[in-house]
Symmetry: C2
DNA sequence: CTGTCCCCTGCAACCGGTTACATAGCTCAC
DNA sequence: GTGAGCTATGTAACCGGTTGCAGGGGACAG
């Protein structure tokens, strides 16, 4: 049996205990500089005695400011997001905002519903890697300040990973090691991040005169990577760049199952650097600083909420290669050249 | 489709468009069975035309029900929590609740502040692995319905892992393989989960006539596990049970750095089964079904919120051993017996 | 034809704050 | 001594819903 939750004291009770009007109590907590010091003191004492805390819901209704922000991600369980969420939450907290978390389960329509449902309760949104189409995102942005992470829509505030620098470093690293034939194992085709990474890889491979084949991981998961490893084993590529660390790890496991050793028989590079330090062997990867992206997104959002003006509405977070233990020189191999489409 | 206006339409606008009173619009969305079908239809049409969505904040103020629940965890980045959060969020969503997420950064006082700050905006709390002391938890529970995960406080609703069965299976598995000297690498001493696991391990070891030493991982992290591996290497134990998978993975990396091979020279068992399938070699571990815990906690909370009565206020989730590739028979070893405290 | 009952719907008072505006009292310069 | 200019506080109208209560009107029985 539950204890009937005791009702929190209201502003009216504090007012009568302190012998002032409700307005004075309200001002004590919102604009104390308007009041005589003695008065605020007396009100504070009364409030403390009753255990009064201003009701955020009532405050939100009358001011229109909720003191909350919403963070929507496609899949909390994807290791890319927890550090991002964590940083965002910490930042929001120190700015005085509480955080609504939404998981869209990778489904655009869930994202849409989530947004409309929690909109009145928040002052602004952060959409991380949204799967929603551009027009709907713009529609939501028209209602509430909104910051995107990992999605580039003109005119909207956004925090982006500067993918190309990191990918270029990765490809150059492989070129320096002597690799000539490499693969990119891609993520969700609809994902902006995937398109960015893939085209950056293609461009870099062309620059270094390497052959690059693209292999689709059915899903951006460990399992997807495992499946891709089977395809990889049938090609003559000696190095692979994966859509993200999770796929890279799946590839490593898949290769191991095929009896191929990493890095001796196949070099593997991940992306994000979210679990690189916890794989064995430690994964060479491109660090995307996702935690920083989360923090920056909150900063940007609160700046918009408070200032109104947006000094910089497009923040680029640099990425860079972190070399660990999954890349080395290619070994001569007699594998058959694949029929995969090749680029340059 | 109409261009969404900056300000969300209110009940008043819908009422005048539909030619009814505000009360009727309200009832259309809260208690439609009181209205004539034609009326609700007309109101719904007007609402749709304006893009009206009931304002949850206003609703919360007048009903006292916020339609939100809060989920507080000590560290989102700990892989134990994302599946739990994900399941909880999905469940809450389908029950019509939105979710506040709080990360206490493992600090009890942050937990306390978070709870008091969010309290008026939510109908109830879920505290996962709270670090807060019992009296404070009880204080919060007196104000709002509250469900605990991984913490056993008498009289409060809670979802617990039935640790002992899984640990017993793990120890038996090691005994069957022929291990005689094993170690438990512990987590945070203040953690209920750690105490449970450790005492279960001690009890099981005693039952099977094995020697068990306890080694403290300074922190329940990958790094903590690595450090513990150094200590492990100096003992004559042939198998290790880790506080959780993260620590287990750190141990594996640490052992590799010491030149010890898993499982040949040291068997390793984790706990939680949150990243077991993504390590290499795949980790033998105790599955804790943390996602189910999250879902059950939400079910329990919503039952309390709706029913008022609590049919079952203590849910036990069974755990069981999942054998993968990090356990095998012990190899004779000449390592020196350690001076660690031993239990039976 | 009238009375009763029930089904819908409207009226108006909340919920707990915020805030524009009014005002009381006081200081100070002229 | 009086009006201007403050400062500190009160009054009351919101914010956008919900809901107890009242009442109009149709159905139906007598």
């Amino acid at each position: 049996m539950t204890i009937p939750p005791k009702r929190a004291p209201t502003i009216t009770e504090v007012a009568s205990l302190a012998g002032v009007s409700r307005a004075t109590v309200s001002r004590t907590f919102s604009r104390p500089e308007l009041l005589h010091a003695d008065t605020t003191e007396r009100v504070r004492a009364a409030a403390a005695q009753l255990g009064y805390v201003p009701n955020q819901v009532a405050r939100a209704l009358s001011t229109g400011r909720a003191g909350n922000i919403a963070l929507v991600v496609p899949d909390i369980a994807n290791p890319f997001f927890p550090p991002l969420i964590r940083a965002a939450q910490a930042r929001a907290d120190s700015e005085g905002y509480a955080v609504f978390l939404g998981d869209s389960d990778e489904r655009p329509e869930r994202e849409d519903i989530l947004l409309t449902k929690i909109a009145p309760q928040v002052d602004g949104f952060i959409l991380a890697s949204p799967r929603l189409d551009e027009s709907r995102i713009r529609a939501h942005a028209a209602r509430r300040p909104l910051v995107l992470i990992n999605r580039d829509i003109d005119g909207l505030a956004r925090v982006l990973m500067d993918v190309s620098s990191g990918i270029a470093q990765a490809v150059r690293h492989l070129a320096d090691l002597g690799h000539r034939h490499i693969a990119y194992v891609s993520g969700p085709p609809a994902s902006w991040a995937n398109q960015e990474r893939q085209s950056a890889a293609i461009a870099a491979a062309r620059e270094f005169g390497m052959t690059l084949i693209a292999i689709a991981a059915s899903r951006p998961t460990y399992q997807g990577g495992q499946a891709a490893a089977t395809e990889l084993a049938q090609t003559d590529v000696t190095a692979t760049i994966a859509f993200d660390d999770l796929v890279a790890q799946g590839i490593m496991a898949g290769l191991a199952a095929q009896g191929l050793r990493v890095p001796d028989e196949m070099s593997v590079i991940g992306f994000d650097d979210v679990l690189a330090s916890t794989t064995y062997p430690p994964l060479t990867t491109v660090a995307a600083h996702c935690a920083e992206a989360g923090g920056q997104a909150v900063d940007l959002l609160t700046a918009i909420l408070q200032g109104g003006s947006t000094p910089m509405d497009r923040i680029l977070i640099p990425t860079e290669l972190v070399v660990r233990a999954t890349t080395t020189q290619p070994r001569a191999s007699a594998k058959r050249r694949s029929q995969q489409p090749t680029f340059s």
